[in-house]
């Protein structure tokens, strides 16, 4: 649903939309970001606001530093990254707390409790506290919108960046949010002075540190702080309650839905710096305190520092997403009864729906216990035509140790490739391999490679490459270039390199041996692996291909492949490509394979078929007599040859074009 940008209205929007809207209304001029789930959608949503300049940065550190410049000049700026991205941006982030800001600066950080899209479950509140930066924690989508908007005022009030911690639940959720119109925030831009504030010379640092502490203290107990601490008591005038609940984030919404209205609650929207007075005032009215939050025990620990002893939560471990069972506590049966009553069945079901098409037998059905069902997982895999598939196929066949990185290519770890053994964080693959080769026995470089995607390479892979060259170790780095950040939906975070530009780049940083090759040609890949693994020097292979996410999906597809049943022996070798367009059906003793219209004609499967039974659709339509004549043709190479001749390529494009 689109949002009316002029009126105050309710719109059904996602959490990412709500962040973008709140920031736009606050009068931001710039958004700086590196893509990462769950907050990639914020920048997508910002694109509808013409007043805002946005451009993906090469990494989160760059985004934070660019935002610093914008803020120093006096403009309001939004910085967006996922939780682990804040680690990459930690250097400027910590120091920004010292220099302070001029224009309001809000850092949106997307946490991922449950780690559905991430390499850890890190809690950003802990990082913000370590940097002495205030952190806001919205509970629902209305909060996400309003906290983002208000955070800019808060930032200018404190002179500090302000973090708004959102979660996957917020970002991927949607609901009605009441929005308003944009505030004008145009002020005269200037270079920031004095140097005592903006130049972090050791002589100036103690004063800046003191100023930071003073800012946080002035925030605690201020009108701003009380705005983020809302206590609700069920009875007017009651002086004491048997227990009360202190909540933050999504836990507050869960509490609100579960509670029957009889429980006093303190909603904490700003867990750092903690408003001690508000928490103590609330606790004085309650004999016992329950703290509800997701992720770590950050809020509980802050409350404990005030000398309070929250009751123990029975099931809560801090691992994974918060569930209703995590609300159960030790020693307060009245509260547990409220929670348990919600766990009971209170739904309404209907008997009067007649199935449209009921295929079941009429026999009496044995009742199945869902607990006993073993449901096979449907793991993510490479897309049909993915330019990463061939290299992992070849690496898997060789059985060598592969240090991977962060990106789509972590899927190389899945079956049938099983060709990824370790990863750590963005850009780490090259350094980890270099570390291995520093201590392993001579010849280890023939048994291991590092694999890194192009976006990750430009994010944080260049310094490791330079260090690896300097270290003098042998070893092979494979850069998988599909010209964008494919994992997050294909964003361009750097200007893509052509093959020539790769050659120039690798030459200029003095890589002793390198090759830039097409990504899906298994023969060429194999030859390159032989040469590089046996080379007596450090080397780089760049495999250049297209990300299918960047190709027009609904456009005509040329050279789609099919399986020629005359030649297919059902050996199943084509399944080792793990291409989702190849479907197997088992009938009796024999397996039948089919290539569906997901095929984009990359030709990878055609190369691995020992019978050359996978051929272009156009060739399969010829009469059997002709098909027999070209039995055994290596179609991938044939088509590659045709493609290299312009006229033939044009003609084949015309006849091979599909309808949809």
């Amino acid at each position: 649903m689109s949002i009316n940008i002029n009126a105050v209205e309710q719109s059904f929007i996602s959490g990412c939309d709500a962040i973008a809207r709140g920031a736009w209304e606050a009068g931001i001029d710039v958004v700086a970001s590196y893509p990462g789930s769950p907050v990639t959608g914020v920048v997508d949503a910002v694109t509808q606001y013409e007043e805002v300049t946005y451009k993906w940065s090469a990494n989160e550190k760059v985004a934070m530093e660019k935002a610093a410049g914008v803020s120093y000049a006096g403009s309001r700026v939004l910085v967006v990254m996922k939780h682990v991205g804040l680690n990459v941006a930690a250097d400027p982030f910590y120091n920004l707390a010292y220099t302070g800001i001029k224009g309001g600066m809000v850092v949106i950080v997307g946490d991922d409790p449950g780690a559905k899209n991430s390499q850890n479950e890190q809690d950003t509140r802990l990082v913000a506290k370590a940097a002495n930066v205030p952190v806001l924690e919205p509970s629902n989508l209305q909060d996400v919108y309003s906290f983002t908007k208000i955070a800019f005022d808060l930032s200018e009030f404190t002179g500090l960046p302000v973090v708004v911690r959102v979660t996957s639940e917020h970002c991927y959720g949607s609901g009605y949010v009441t929005t308003a119109s944009r505030n004008d925030h145009s002020i005269e831009k200037d270079f920031a002075r004095p140097i005592q504030k903006y130049l972090l010379l050791p002589d100036f640092v103690p004063d800046r540190h003191q100023a930071l502490i003073n800012s946080l203290e002035s925030l605690q107990g201020s009108h701003w702080s009380s705005w983020f601490y809302q206590a609700t008591y069920p009875q007017k005038g009651a002086s004491k309650y048997p227990y009360g609940v202190i909540c933050s984030g999504g836990a507050y919404e869960l509490f609100e839905e579960v509670s029957d209205g009889s429980v006093p609650v303190l909603k904490v929207g700003m867990p750092f710096p903690l408003d001690r007075k508000a928490v103590i005032a609330f606790s004085e009215k309650c004999d016992s305190i329950i703290v509800l939050e997701d992720s770590s025990r950050f809020l509980e620990d802050e409350v404990k520092k005030l000398g309070l002893q929250p009751v123990k939560r029975i099931h809560y471990s801090g691992v994974g997403e918060l569930t209703i069972k995590d609300l159960l506590v030790d020693g307060i049966p009245a509260w547990n009864q409220i929670v348990n009553s919600k766990l009971e069945d209170r739904h309404v079901f209907f008997d009067n729906v007649i199935p449209i098409k009921d295929l079941s037998d009429e026999n009496v059905i044995e009742i199945v216990n869902p607990e006993s069902l073993e449901i096979p997982k449907r793991p993510a895999g490479f897309c049909a035509g993915c330019s990463h598939a061939a290299i992992f196929h070849q690496l898997g066949e060789r059985g060598i140790y592969v240090v991977g990185d962060i990106g789509c290519y972590t899927l190389g770890a899945t079956q049938p490739f099983s060709a990824l053994d370790a990863n750590l964080c963005m850009g780490a693959s090259i350094s980890v391999l270099d570390g291995y080769l520093s201590v392993m026995e001579e010849g280890a470089h023939k048994q291991a490679v590092a694999v890194i995607g192009d976006s990750t390479f430009f994010h944080s892979g260049i310094p490791p490459l330079l260090s690896a060259i300097s270290s003098g170790n042998k070893g092979t780095v494979i850069i998988l270039d599909n010209s964008g950040s494919a994992m997050t939906g294909f964003q361009e975070t750097y200007p893509p390199f052509s093959m020539d530009e790769w050659n120039q780049f690798l030459q200029s940083v003095r890589v002793p041996k390198f090759d830039v090759l097409p990504a899906l040609d298994t023969k060429i890949i194999d030859q390159a692996l032989d040469q590089h693994l046996n080379a007596d020097t450090f080397s780089v292979i760049v495999l250049k291909g297209d990300c299918v996410q960047s190709l027009p999906k609904k456009g005509p597809t040329n050279f789609r492949y099919v399986i020629n049943e005359d030649s297919c022996t059902s050996c199943g070798k084509c399944l080792t490509t793990d291409c989702p367009s190849i479907v197997a059906e088992i009938k009796g003793e024999k397996a039948f394979y089919e290539i569906t219209n997901e095929c984009i004609g990359c030709g990878f499967c055609s190369q691995v078929c020992p019978e050359n039974a996978i051929m272009p659709m156009i060739a399969s339509k010829a009469p059997k007599l002709i098909r027999d004549m070209y039995k055994g043709t290596h179609w991938y190479r044939t088509i590659k040859k045709i493609r290299s001749i312009k006229v033939l390529s044009y003609l084949f494009d015309l006849i091979e074009r599909e309808k949809y």
């Binding site: 059904f12 919600k342 007649i354």
Partner: protein, 219 residues
């Protein structure tokens, strides 16, 4: 005192089948009837054929998109097998809408998994007390040259009809935007399909509780 009654819908599918749009559209449609509607999505690496799911919760006191109990009023599966992705949610009376679109590829382990027939899936759902409703999509898609992603438009039509909305409400441009011809006809096809259901869910409790319940409460 809160009533506690609400509508919980679980939608399951595979990346690339349009689950996200279906969840949003259905939620907005429901928001014309319920005071509060919230959605949540579990995406994972969505576009790469992994399992994905969406939750829609509607009612007068709904706050969180988490399913509070191990059950749903309606489960809609955009792909056949995914109807049993969360078998615990199927309870006596749960309406299970199953697309006959079967994507038998389970990633690298595909050759080790025997994909169940529709008959087996329906029997399984019934054995847990669910009410299976099978959506014939495959033939329709073949006849109209549709892609797998169009199942989400068909399912939106089915949901709109099953939930008792008019076709006009379903096609409100504020919900659907301006769909192309294929999506539009897919929505209408889905809508017309479930009109064959004799009694629809339009009698679900409204937030104000002013509509008589025609079903039974399990507690």
């Amino acid at each position: 005192m809160k009533t506690g009654y609400g509508l919980d819908i679980f939608i399951s599918g595979i990346g690339g089948l349009g689950l996200l749009g279906l969840t949003r559209k259905t939620a907005i449609l429901l928001s014309s009837r319920y005071k509060k509607v919230v959605t949540g999505e579990s995406r994972g690496i969505a576009q790469r054929r992994g399992s994905v799911s969406g939750v829609i919760r509607a009612g007068d006191d709904v706050r969180t998109a988490k399913l509070l109990t191990d059950k749903a009023n309606i489960i809609a599966a955009l792909e056949s097998f995914e109807i049993i992705r969360k078998p615990k949610l199927i309870k006596p009376g749960t309406i299970c809408i199953i697309s006959d679109l079967a994507i038998q590829n389970f990633g690298g382990s595909q050759h080790k998994i025997k994909y169940p027939s529709m008959n087996e899936l329906v029997t399984l759902v019934e054995s847990m007390g669910g009410k299976p409703v099978v959506i014939p999509f495959k033939d329709y898609a073949k006849r109209h040259e549709l892609r797998n992603v169009h199942i989400s438009s068909v399912m939106y039509g089915v949901m709109a009809s099953l939930l008792g909305f008019s076709q006009e409400s379903m096609l409100d441009e504020r919900i659907t935007g301006k769909p192309d011809a294929k999506n539009l006809s897919a929505m209408k096809y889905g809508y017309d399909l479930s009109l064959t259901v004799e009694s629809t869910l339009n009698e679900l409790p409204s937030p104000q509780g002013d509509v008589a319940l025609s079903g039974q409460t399990a507690a």
